[in-house]
Symmetry: C2
Subunit: 202 residues, 2 copies
């Protein structure tokens, strides 16, 4: 009705996660009515990304230089590896700041539901990195979900034989939350993992 070009744009936008027919149409009509430079700038940014962005050959994070900025930074502790599911997780942790080790991106989590097996993740290259030596600690920073925990168990099985120290992100009540609104699973874990107060020195 509004022409093939707009229909194709709506189709491409609809293929994005979380974008339905209505949102795709709203975005397409916005771009169609905006100055054409806007659509062109977005097209160029997409083209650039499709040409220049690759997974880092060391950590599998998203990067336009290989190895990536984080793997090439001599100021970061190569002895401490933080293993996350997705590039977004690296971003979340870097936004917080404070972590000065390096990363390893699994590119997913094992999932029965989505049919993702441990072999589909970058576990073999992680084991190879640890085997190369120089890694003291691997922080398993998978999501606190069923799939994330299952993935952590796979990682433990793969890494424990190498004698490296394994840790994971602390679990319990989220700061700023309330007992009243915490789910049963959160409260159960907070009870089971209750900590000495005042905190004991490790």
């Amino acid at each position: 009705m509004y022409g093939d070009a707009v229909a194709r744009l709506v189709g491409e936008l609809k293929a994005l996660p979380g974008v339905g027919q209505r949102t795709a149409e709203r975005l397409a009509f916005h771009l169609v009515q905006a100055p054409p430079e806007r659509a062109r700038a977005l097209a160029r940014a997409l083209q650039d990304v499709s040409e220049s962005v690759r997974p880092c050959r060391v950590c599998f994070n998203v990067t336009d230089q290989d190895p990536c900025r984080l793997c090439s930074d001599p100021g970061r502790d190569a002895g401490l590896l933080c293993v996350v599911e997705r590039p977004q997780d690296v971003l979340a942790l870097e936004r917080v700041g404070g972590f000065r080790g390096r990363y390893h991106v699994l590119l997913g989590a094992v999932s029965l539901l989505d049919g993702v097996a441990a072999e589909d993740l970058t576990i073999a290259p992680l084991v190879a990195r640890v085997k190369q030596g120089g890694v003291r600690e691997v922080l398993l920073a998978t999501n606190p979900t069923f799939d994330g925990d299952a993935t952590a168990l796979h990682l433990q099985a793969a890494l424990a034989p190498l004698g490296v120290r394994l840790t994971r992100l602390a679990r319990g009540l989220p700061i700023g939350g309330s007992l009243e609104l915490a789910s049963k699973a959160i409260l159960t874990e907070a009870l089971e993992r209750r900590q000495a107060f005042p905190a004991a020195q490790e």
Copy 2:
């Protein structure tokens, strides 16, 4: 942190309506991790739209041919013009089907808040269309909002001297709604515009 290309894509996506930093990052990471053909196909669709899509010179609807398909369709009644605010509104009405007249897109609504005056809309070309003759009825299909109603009043002032019949979309309780959930404004209008039952023949 993840490279200039991704950062620029996030920036361009964030400029879209309803897309914040988080959503822009989620979309960008999705595109970065998808096969590069996906980003390229979206880039191409955007490029095509920026090159081929223009406002129709007759009705100002979005189109890739000029005059647009609706204005060029001899099967549509040129004597009945439906005036809407935006191209999306044409889409909404065409989706319903049943309307066999033609359209005129104002490209906005008068708005004190957004600083849009009647002169910013395509009212002058609409008046010129009606003056050319052949139009019996103009259906004012602006949104049932403060700005839409103000726009309808402007249209009335501009078109009434031409002796054309002016109508507007019916107002009242939305079908499928409930009295309990209808706002005070909806109920007030439904009361004030109460209709004979059974409906009188016009």
